[in-house]
Structures are given as structure tokens and as C-alpha cells.
């Protein structure tokens, strides 16, 4: 692994970045993420419909939904924290998106690295949790308690995967990892087991079937979203598109070599997000404890074996 580390370190030492250089990136990256995220949601719904032998929504359906939600005449707020919760939930993902390198835009990614990124990713959850908390609706609180439990469930295998990858590349810099993969070999070929475990956690991270117990519409009335109306719900829709995007880009950066050009990049991230979508409609929903159990069993086991190969 010494050759790797030398390689990574010699090439990707970033110097000081000036704000002017990165400002366009800071504006563009969330936009790209938003658009791709919307497309992913569309893909998600389309695939679901196809699997259920339906036609599915029209192409602009995600846009319609979001515009409609933001265009609501009346919307309720349960207080300042309710508002701030949504702001933080969206804003946290915006920050996370900026910290994720994409082709041609990696100026700021090195300021954090993968560990920082995975903790920045907790900020929206916490913000949302606070906002939901203020709604004073127990369904929301139950949903949050389940969501945090789910986070506990999938973050443990995820963090093992992150560790394995970082150990493999001898770096926590995402830019360094991507460049290494582009010049050598994709991570998925070098670390197939970790990649498999990563895919597993990706499923949990997206919060869709079969790990969407925290939403559970018929049981706890969509959990955290129960009191979300209008722009609050719209914020959550925006957040969800970011969520899809971040999860897929992260996976693509860790295992699929990121993207050297836009076409390749988009192909990869849509491919990545496709897999969990296909899986999600094949399984019924897991209960919370079952989700914890399955997440702590298989992906953890696979990832640990993967680490043993990497180290």
C-alpha cells in the first residue's frame, strides 16, 4: 500500500483556495445536485411504477410537486425551530453537496475529506429532528426516533466501509481517492467486498423501501413529515433529491472512480442509484429492530472481511 499512499499524497496536495475561485462552484454544485436529484426521484418513481405495471408520473412530476408545495397559500408553522429545522435540513445537504467533488469542481472538497463529510451528513438529520420535535406531534417524534435508530443501524457498516476505503487509499481526501481510481483501477475491483457492503448501506441511507419504517405512512402518518405542509414539505422534497444525489455520488466516488467527464459521471451516479431502487420494491418493510439486526449483521460482516483484505 506504500506506493498508493505516495501516489495519493504527492499529487493532491491542495494549496490555499481563494473564495473567488470557488464561488462559482458553490453556486453551481447545489444546482447540479438538485437537478440530478430530481431526475433520480423521477427515475425512482418511474421504476416503481414500471415494476408495478403502471405508467408512472410524467417527466416533470417532481417539479410539479415541489412548485405546488412552495405555492401553497396557507401553511402552518409550529414555531421558529420548526422553520429552522427545514433550513438546516436543506442547508446541511447543500453544504454536503459542495464538499463532494464532481468533475471539474473539487476546490473545496479537500477542506473536509470523507470523515468530515460523513459528519456533515448528520447535520440535516439533526436539523430536521429538531424541527420535527417542535411540531409537538408524537408521530413525528416516533418517526425521528426511528430515523435516528436507522442512522445508527446503517452508519456502523458505512463507517467501516469508509475506514476500509480510507485505509486502502491511505487518505481521507475524496479528491485523492478519485484521482487514484482514475489512474489505476476502480475501487470496486480492488475492494469488492467493501463495495458490496457499501451498496447495502446505501440502501439504508436513502431511506426508501425496505428501510423506511420511520416514515410508515399508515402507522405513524409519515412520521417526521406529519406536520409538514407547504414549503416545509417542499423543503423536504428538495432535501430528498439532494439525499439521492449525495448517496450516489459518494458511492461513485469511493468505488466507481468518480467521473472524469460529465457523461461518465452522470452515468455512474444514475447507475448507482438504480440498484437500490430495484431492490427496494422487491422487499417488504423491515421493522426497526429487524433493520438494526440486518444492518449490523450482513454489511458489517462483509465489510469487516473486506477490511481484512485491505489491511
Amino acid at each position: 500500500m506504500n506506493s498508493t499512499s505516495e501516489f495519493v499524497t504527492s499529487e493532491f496536495v491542495t494549496g490555499n483556495v481563494s473564495l473567488a475561485d470557488v464561488l462559482p462552484q458553490m453556486i453551481l454544485m447545489p444546482l447540479i445536485a438538485f437537478v440530478s436529484g430530481l431526475l433520480m426521484i423521477l427515475m425512482y418513481r418511474k421504476i416503481a411504477a414500471r415494476l408495478q405495471r403502471r405508467v408512472g408520473p410524467p417527466f416533470f412530476q417532481p417539479v410539479y410537486d415541489i412548485v405546488k408545495l412552495y405555492g401553497k397559500k396557507t401553511q402552518i408553522s409550529h414555531g421558529l425551530i420548526h422553520d429552522i429545522g427545514i433550513v438546516v435540513a436543506v442547508g446541511g445537504y447543500v453544504a454536503a453537496v459542495i464538499l463532494l467533488p464532481i468533475p471539474g469542481m473539487d476546490g473545496i472538497a479537500d477542506k473536509g475529506g470523507i470523515i468530515t463529510l460523513s459528519y456533515v451528513l448528520m447535520v440535516p438529520s439533526l436539523g430536521l429532528a429538531l424541527g420535527v420535535g417542535q411540531c409537538a406531534n408524537p408521530n413525528g417524534s416516533i418517526g425521528i426516533s426511528r430515523a435516528l435508530t436507522a442512522m445508527l443501524a446503517y452508519d456502523i457498516p458505512f463507517i467501516i466501509v469508509v475506514f476500509g476505503v480510507a485505509t486502502h487509499y491511505q487518505s481521507t481526501s475524496l479528491v485523492g481517492m478519485i484521482n487514484y481510481q482514475q489512474t489505476h483501477q476502480w475501487g470496486i475491483f480492488e475492494m469488492p467486498l467493501l463495495a458490496a457492503a457499501g451498496l447495502f448501506t446505501l440502501q439504508g441511507m436513502m431511506g426508501k423501501h425496505p428501510f423506511e419504517i420511520y416514515v410508515a405512512p399508515a402507522e405513524i402518518a409519515t412520521g417526521p413529515m406529519v406536520e409538514m405542509s407547504g414549503k416545509y414539505m417542499g423543503g423536504l422534497f428538495v432535501m430528498q433529491s439532494f439525499q439521492f444525489y449525495v448517496a450516489s455520488v459518494l458511492y461513485a466516488s469511493l468505488f466507481l472512480g468518480g467521473g472524469s467527464n460529465w457523461f461518465e459521471f452522470l452515468l455512474k451516479i444514475f447507475f448507482v442509484v438504480e440498484i437500490p431502487i430495484f431492490i427496494s420494491f422487491l422487499f417488504p418493510r423491515y421493522r426497526t429492530e429487524d433493520m438494526v439486526r440486518i444492518m449490523w449483521k450482513w454489511p458489517v460482516m462483509i465489510a469487516l472481511i473486506g477490511i481484512a483484505f485491505v489491511m
Binding site: S5, M26, Y70, G71, T74, Q75, I76, S77, D83, V87, V88, A89, V90, G91, G92, Y93, V94, A95, L99, I108, D110, K111, G112, I115, T116, Y119, V120, M122, V123, L126, L130, G133, A136, N137, P138, N139, S141, I142, S145, T149, L152, D155, I156, I159, I160, F163, T167, T172, A221, G230, K231, G234, G235, T288, E289, V292, R293, L304, I307, M311
Partner: protein, 645 residues
């Protein structure tokens, strides 16, 4: 007279003054002034924090062939800074409305005693931090233990008394292990002076070092509350009267880490510790200690998750965070130890702030029981804000300071190639996130209770220290370089390569951290989010908490529509069975064993024939005598009538 002399003398005189004046009403103002002046004296030594030469006290004692001396180096200065600032804030916190209420609820005398306990704690900690040899370290150690005990014992509740007793028994066990270790060190190296012991350690065998390390670690570990000695701390700290708990939670248990840094890291050296192989395993002593740290992050954190009282929850987290410090120090490279040492500072800031917020809640509502709180955010928004800032710090999420120290620890674990420890640390963090959300949700969020509708924000005297701490938490989170300067100096003092840092964090070729950028991006993100929310979305209406979706049910004030019981029911369904109270059972088993042996001994003393014992001892002694010398001499020895010989 050096500055250190001034500081110690000043604090000692101040404690005498506070003991004398404890019944006066102005004692609270006086004590604030005292801590402020002491802090000023400490700042006069601030050169230490940037790599200055150690300051020696001119006062020494020569006793039993030992020269006791006192001195301050960068590490002591760092810890002393935390101590004095938290004492200052705690004193300020209790100087106003809280103190008046405490006087009313208990008595003026009790309040005076709380002030006395605080100054004695500070004094004893300064003495401990200033210690220049192992014996003075032990003296300081015991003083700290007893000062803490005094603080804990001030709460007259039954639970608190029990906790205090438990504490002092544990503390005594730790002190005794420490004393044994000191005695052994003295016999092995012939001295107790740091420098000479350090030289003497070089000649010791690995097994000797192993014995010493395990005794020292047991002594210090009990104070830190590491597994398996973690049972005493949470109850004891939680039941300490509010302002006292602020101070204790912030710094008291960290004295264990200070001693550990001095003795294990500086004197013995982690390379020696790492050289000790544990037989029949592939671990060495350092790994074992790191694992102790890792388990300490996990187990108490998940015990905290089950608590139903805010103070207990926080106190358990205090135990758990100690594990991070130990883990960080035990990684033994410059980044890891920097993380461990820095975490002391960070932990002190947010833990003090959290205890203050909880105390403020108790001050206003009279309880910290989660089942009796909720929805206070509208009534106490500033307190809530401070709590949110601090729990973000505690959970180790950017941009607060707790993240930086944890990042350093994770980074060091990554560089060191320790996957399992890394995972353990992360499990601890995740558990922390879960339980801090429980804390903030069950006190401040959710439905406001009818009886709390008239609750007001905490008074200004309590808010000022809280807000100050919140600012510190955020500022040192954004600019960790400020603290890392001191940490680097402390690292040099204990003989570890200092961490390379800048104002924003760590520069590391293999992926560094720049908190200024990270925070900037985060706030940029929040700004974008706010624009999306406030500009694109329409007007919203603020509604009553009873206007809430309940499946078509009509909510009134009679219905408690709030979720706080069994908060993580799903998770507990899964891991609930893993809480087997193993350590509590072990503790009980130990007590039962002592009880059994005690009954056995008592029966011995109750024998009805007094002469029986004499006969028994004579027979046994003679048996021992015969056994020890062999029978051959008996016949030779028995030659009676010896006068003529």
C-alpha cells in the same frame, strides 16, 4: 515568589476567606472576584501555553527523604485554565438567582458550604496540577478526591448520599492502587522525582512496567470512570447540586487523565507500554488501554441512552467522553494525543454548558425528569439555543468544537490502522447523537405542559455564563487552532511531538481539516436553505400546539400528546436485552463477597470458648515453626538444663 506561588497562595488564602465568610450574603460576588483574579494570575503564566519554560514554586518540603515540590508546565497550565474558567463560570452561574433559590430551599449555610466546596476543589486541583513529583501528585490527588466528595455530599437526598458513598469507596480504591504503584515505583527506581523516576524506568523489566502500568491505570481509571470502574461517576455527578455539577462535570474527572498523561505518557512512556505483550493474545498493553477507552465510549454512552433524567444522562455522557480522551491519548501519535487532550477542553466547555442549561431548567420547572418536561423551547429559547450548540458539540458534529477533537481521534485511528477501535469510537458517537436528541427533545421540544405555561427564561446571571460557553464552543469549533496551540505545548511538555496545526485545523497531506472552510460552507448552505425557505415559500401561520394532526382526534389541554417514554423503543427492542447490568451485578457480587467474609470473621470473633483461640494460635504457630525449620533441629535443640553450658 514566583507567579505559581502567588497563584497557590492566593487560592489558599481565598479559600480560608471563603470558609470564614461563608455565611455572608456577598460571598457569591466575592468568590466570582476570587476566581477572576486567579484566572488573571494564571494568564500571567500564559507563556506556558505557547511553549514557555516550566514555572517552579519556591516552596518545597523535605519529608522522609523525599523532596516535595510544585511546578507548572504547559499541560498543567492547560488543565488549570479549564479548571479556573469553569470555576469562574460556575461561580458566576450560582452567584445570582440560582444561589438565592438554593439558599431558600436549603439554607444559607448550605450555600456557603457549596462555595467552600467549590474553592476547595479549585485549590486542590491546582495543587494536583502543580505537583512536581509522584508524592505531591498523590497528595493533590487525594485532596481532589475529598474535595469532590464534599461537593457531592452537600446534597442531602438519599440517592445523592448513596452516590457519594459509592464515589468515595471507588476513589479510595483508586487512591490505594495509586499508592501501591507509588510505593513500588519508589522501590524500583529509588526516587519519586519525575526526572529520576523517568531515568529509573529505563532500567525496569517489562513485567515490572506492566505491574506499574496496571496499578497506575487502575488508580487513574477509577477517577476517570473507565470501564469497569464507571459505575460511581454518573450518579455522583448528577446528584451534586446544580452549580457544583457544572464544575464537576466539566473538569473533575479529567484529573485522572492529567495524572495519566503525566505518569503513563510522560514518565513511563507509551513505547514502554506498547512493548508489554499480553500473553496468549496478539494485544499489547497499549492496545488494551485503547480498548478500555473505546469500551468506555460505548458502554456508558448507551447507558446514558436509557436514562430518564437529564442530569443522569449528561453525567453518563461525561463518563463516555472520558473514553475518547483515553482512546486519543493511547493512539500515541501526535494527532491522536492532540485529539485526546483537546477533547478535555472541548468536553469541559459543552458539558458545563449542558449542566448549566439543565440546572436552569430545574431552576424554572423544578425537575429534570424527562417524563415531566417538554416544549420549553418557547419559554426558554436562549437556554434552548445554548443546549443545541452544546449537544452539537457533545455529539461531535461540525461546526462545534467537539467535532474537531473527535476528528483528530478518528484521523489518528485511520492513520494507525485500527478499524475496530475506529468503529467503536463511531458507535459511541452515534449513541451520543441518539441520546442528545432525546435530551433536547424531551426537555425543550414537543408539547408544553400546562403547568409550564408561565415558565420564564433563565435569569441573566445564569444566562451569561451559558451564552459565554456557547460562544466558546462555537468559536473554538471554527478556529480550533486557538486551542491546538495550547495542546501542542502540552504535548511537548509530556514528550510527544506536537501536532502541526493552523488556525482552521490540521494540515495533513493525506487529507486535513480546515474548520473555517467547513463552517463557511455549512453556513453558506444554511443561507441557501434559508433563501429557499423564506424567499420561495409563502407566508406561514404560527399555530397552537393543540392544532395538531392526531388522526382526527380533538386535542385539548387534558390530553398529553407527547412522546417521551421509551424513546428509542425500536432500538431497545433490539439491544435492550444486551443491558444485563453486568457491572452492577459484579459490584453487588463483590459486596456480597465482602459481606460473606465479614459474617465469617464475625463468627470467628464470637467463639464461645475464649481459650480456644489461644490454643489454636499456639498450635498453628508451633506448626508453622516446625514446618519452617524442619524436624531435624528439634532433637538437637531439646537439651534441657542449659545453665552449665
Amino acid at each position: 515568589m514566583t507567579v505559581l506561588d502567588d497563584l497557590l497562595l492566593f487560592t489558599a488564602l481565598a479559600s480560608v476567606a471563603i470558609i470564614a465568610l461563608r455565611r455572608f450574603a456577598s460571598i457569591s460576588k466575592f468568590s466570582v472576584v476570587v476566581y477572576a483574579l486567579a484566572t488573571v494570575l494564571l494568564i500571567k503564566m500564559s507563556a506556558l501555553g505557547y511553549g514557555g519554560e516550566p514555572v517552579y514554586s519556591s516552596f518545597t518540603v523535605n519529608v522522609l527523604g523525599q523532596i516535595l515540590q510544585w511546578r507548572f508546565d504547559a499541560l498543567s497550565w492547560f488543565f488549570a485554565l479549564i479548571t479556573l474558567v469553569s470555576a469562574l463560570l460556575a461561580a458566576f452561574f450560582m452567584s445570582g438567582a440560582w444561589g438565592e433559590k438554593y439558599c431558600k430551599e436549603h439554607s444559607k449555610e448550605a450555600y456557603g458550604l457549596l462555595q467552600v466546596a467549590l474553592i476547595l476543589n479549585v485549590l486542590s486541583m491546582l495543587v494536583l496540577l502543580a505537583s512536581g513529583d509522584l508524592l505531591s501528585l498523590f497528595i493533590g490527588w487525594e485532596l481532589v478526591s475529598w474535595a469532590s466528595f464534599m461537593m457531592m455530599a452537600l446534597n442531602p437526598d438519599k440517592l445523592a448520599r448513596k452516590a457519594a458513598i459509592k464515589y468515595i469507596v471507588y476513589a479510595m480504591a483508586g487512591a490505594m492502587a495509586f499508592l501501591m504503584a507509588i510505593a513500588m515505583t519508589y522501590n524500583m527506581t529509588g526516587s519519586l522525582d519525575y526526572v529520576q523516576v523517568m531515568q529509573g524506568m529505563a532500567h525496569l523489566s517489562n513485567s515490572q512496567i506492566a505491574l506499574l502500568v496496571s496499578l497506575y491505570v487502575m488508580g487513574f481509571g477509577i477517577k476517570m470512570g473507565v470501564i469497569p470502574f464507571h459505575l460511581w461517576q454518573a450518579a455522583a455527578y448528577a446528584e451534586t447540586p446544580g452549580a457544583g455539577a457544572v464544575f464537576m462535570g466539566a473538569i473533575s474527572a479529567r484529573m485522572g487523565l492529567y495524572a495519566l498523561l503525566v505518569v503513563i505518557v510522560q514518565i513511563i512512556g507509551l513505547t514502554r507500554v506498547a512493548a508489554i505483550e499480553i500473553p496468549y493474545t496478539f494485544l499489547d498493553m497499549q492496545n488494551v488501554l485503547a480498548w478500555v477507552g473505546a469500551l468506555t465510549t460505548i458502554i456508558p454512552t448507551y447507558i446514558a441512552l436509557k436514562q430518564n433524567d437529564a442530569r443522569h444522562l449528561l453525567a453518563w455522557h461525561g463518563v463516555g467522553q472520558g473514553g475518547y480522551m483515553l482512546l486519543g491519548v493511547m493512539i500515541s501519535d501526535s494527532i491522536g494525543t492532540a485529539g485526546g487532550i483537546m477533547h478535555v477542553f472541548n468536553h469541559a466547555t459543552y458539558q458545563a454548558a449542558l449542566f448549566m442549561t439543565v440546572t436552569a431548567v430545574i431552576y424554572r420547572t423544578g425537575t429534570s425528569n424527562f417524563s415531566k418536561l417538554g416544549g420549553l423551547v418557547t419559554q426558554m429559547p436562549l437556554t434552548f439555543m445554548v443546549m443545541v450548540v452544546s449537544i452539537i458539540g457533545l455529539a461531535g458534529i461540525p461546526p462545534m468544537n467537539g467535532f474537531v477533537s473527535k476528528w483528530l481521534i478518528y484521523r489518528a485511528l485511520l492513520l494507525d490502522g485500527q478499524p475496530l477501535l475506529f468503529v467503536a469510537a463511531v458507535i459511541g458517537t452515534l449513541g451520543t447523537i441518539l441520546s442528545v436528541y432525546k435530551l433536547v427533545h424531551n426537555t425543550f421540544l414537543g408539547q408544553l405542559r400546562l403547568e409550564h405555561q408561565e415558565v420564564r427564561e433563565a435569569p441573566l446571571s445564569m444566562l451569561i455564563p451559558m451564552l459565554g460557553l456557547a460562544i466558546i464552543i462555537f468559536a473554538t469549533g471554527v478556529m480550533p487552532g486557538v486551542v491546538l496551540d495550547w495542546v501542542a505545548a502540552a504535548q511537548i511538555a509530556v514528550g510527544i511531538a506536537p501536532v502541526e496545526h493552523n488556525l482552521g485545523g490540521i494540515e495533513l497531506v493525506q487529507g486535513g481539516l480546515d474548520m473555517i472552510w467547513v463552517t463557511g460552507i455549512m453556513f453558506y448552505g444554511f443561507a441557501v436553505g434559508a433563501i429557499i425557505f423564506y424567499v420561495l415559500g409563502g407566508k406561514s401561520k404560527h399555530i397552537h400546539q393543540y392544532d395538531n394532526y392526531a388522526g382526527g382526534h380533538f386535542l385539548t389541554s387534558k390530553v398529553r400528546y407527547h412522546y417521551s417514554n421509551h424513546f428509542y423503543a425500536g432500538l431497545m427492542h433490539m439491544i435492550g436485552g444486551w443491558y444485563r447490568n453486568v457491572f452492577i451485578k459484579l459490584e453487588h457480587a463483590l459486596v456480597s463477597l465482602v459481606s460473606f467474609m465479614s459474617q465469617f470473621s464475625e463468627n470467628f470473633y464470637r467463639s464461645s470458648q475464649p481459650v480456644m483461640l489461644v490454643a489454636v494460635v499456639v498450635v498453628l504457630a508451633l506448626y508453622f515453626v516446625l514446618g519452617s525449620s524442619g524436624g531435624a533441629e528439634v532433637s538437637a535443640g531439646v537439651s534441657l538444663g542449659g545453665f552449665n553450658q
